[in-house]
Amino acid sequence: MIRLTVVLAVITCCAALALGFVYKGTQPMIEEQAKLAEEEARRLALPQAMCGVMVSKESKGVEYYEGYRFPDTTGLVGYTVKASAKGYSSTIEAVVGVNPAGEITGMKIISQQETPGLGTKIEEVKSFKSVADAFREMTGTAELHTVSTAFTLEDGEEVCLEVGIKDAERTCELEEAVAAEDTAGIVTLAPGVFKIEPGDSARVFGDPATATALSVAVLEELRRESTPWFQFQFIGKQYDDIVLVRGQTDENIQGITGATISSRAVVEAVRNAIEDLDKAVGGFKGN
């Protein structure tokens, strides 16, 4: 019996030692990846600041970020804050974005270990579309090609979306026009934000004005499709909306149902985030 114990103890000790070394070697990289994931989550939670900058702040013990439309910290578009709540089998962590009017601009779950096939549906994405896929569906054309030149939309937030604009009949003419554009202000979306793949672009048929309107619609479509459908329900709602919906019966449920322990935990995390922001900045909880 003693021999069995000793052999097993030696093997487990050797394994523990080896794993300790591997852990030490990989830990910095894992932390770096977590940092990048949180940064991307902030951009998704507050897409209005995608071209601008996020500034880290702390007030009354709450750490949060202020998001600005422009890199020179002008044009405050909202705040992001990280919050958590206990789910069924893990603590669910989420980054929530809120605009100054108290409306949720987006949210991204950054950590959860819920039940596969059930609780994990809080992260289920309707579909993964590339820019080209979305354009193809909306224009009904199959003739999509990658273009080397890019056109930057010029109205407001959508300036981030980089698309190629061409006309089937006047390709060369428009290519020259696009090439003549001042491209100094072009900001490309971070890879993965809307599932833009390297070199992925789209050919849009029509004049630039029509194409611009179409591009805005595509941006919305991509955002709706690439955001997990459960998380998408929070966008545009305020703190009181969430409480109100949760308090209702089956009748008049408007979106957030909290059908599972996991989804209730997400609601709780969002509420915690807004409460934290209310504590730090004020004016988010309503009455």
Binding site: V7, L8, I11, A15
Partner: protein, 198 residues
């Protein structure tokens, strides 16, 4: 048995998925894309080779009564190494494979080879057996995932293969598509095997 045979048997003749019908859980679950299939295959191969080698080296010092807990400890250690390295260096793949990386610990192929082969053979043969079985498992995952990705999305490795006019058959990348594809591939291997014996 020649050294080469020790390696090659796992690829076709004793392919763990198509011939031995082992380790089907990840084959069905993660073969939605070639990237996932290849990633899972490489991870399982690393664990197979590592655990086979270590089990073979320490086999004479392990009392028979505790051999299974010892094998599991060795396998779990290699799986943890894969999990940590993948989380640090291949985060996208790590997220896609999710729970199926830790579940390699209970993959029948790995414990099966440790018990049936590495525990009774020398390190060189065990290493080759692990490599061959890993290659066979990866081969099965790559074939299955390629078929499902091509039919289900019209793409392979993210590149458009069937043209933009192709209407993807979503069924192929959903769970029923995995069962149908795997069933057809097993049938094909049986047919080829029967033809080879005739």
């Amino acid at each position: 048995m020649a050294i080469w045979d020790e390696f090659s048997k796992g690829i076709v003749k004793e392919n763990p998925v198509f011939r031995l019908v082992l380790g089907l859980c990840p084959v069905l679950a993660v073969t939605t894309s070639l990237k996932n299939g290849l990633g899972m295959g490489m991870a399982a191969t690393f664990v197979l080779v590592g655990s086979n080698l270590i089990v073979s080296i320490i086999r004479k010092g392990i009392p028979a009564r505790i051999r299974i807990p010892c094998y599991i400890t060795v396998i779990a250690s290699f799986v943890t190494v894969v999990d940590l390295v993948m989380a640090g260096y291949l985060p996208e793949l790590h997220k896609n494979l999710g729970l199926f990386i830790p579940l390699i610990v209970v993959n029948c192929i790995i414990l099966g080879r440790a018990e049936a082969f590495a525990g009774k053979n020398n390190p060189l043969r065990s290493l080759l057996d692990g490599l061959g079985m890993g290659a066979g498992f990866t081969f099965a995952l790559v074939i299955t995932s390629s078929i499902r990705e091509i039919i289900g999305t019209g793409k392979i490795w993210g590149l458009v293969l069937l043209g933009t006019r192709y209407n993807p058959v979503l069924f192929a990348v959903l769970s029923p598509g995995a069962f149908v594809t795997l069933g057809l591939l097993i049938a094909l291997f049986n047919k080829l095997e029967a033809r080879g014996e005739a």
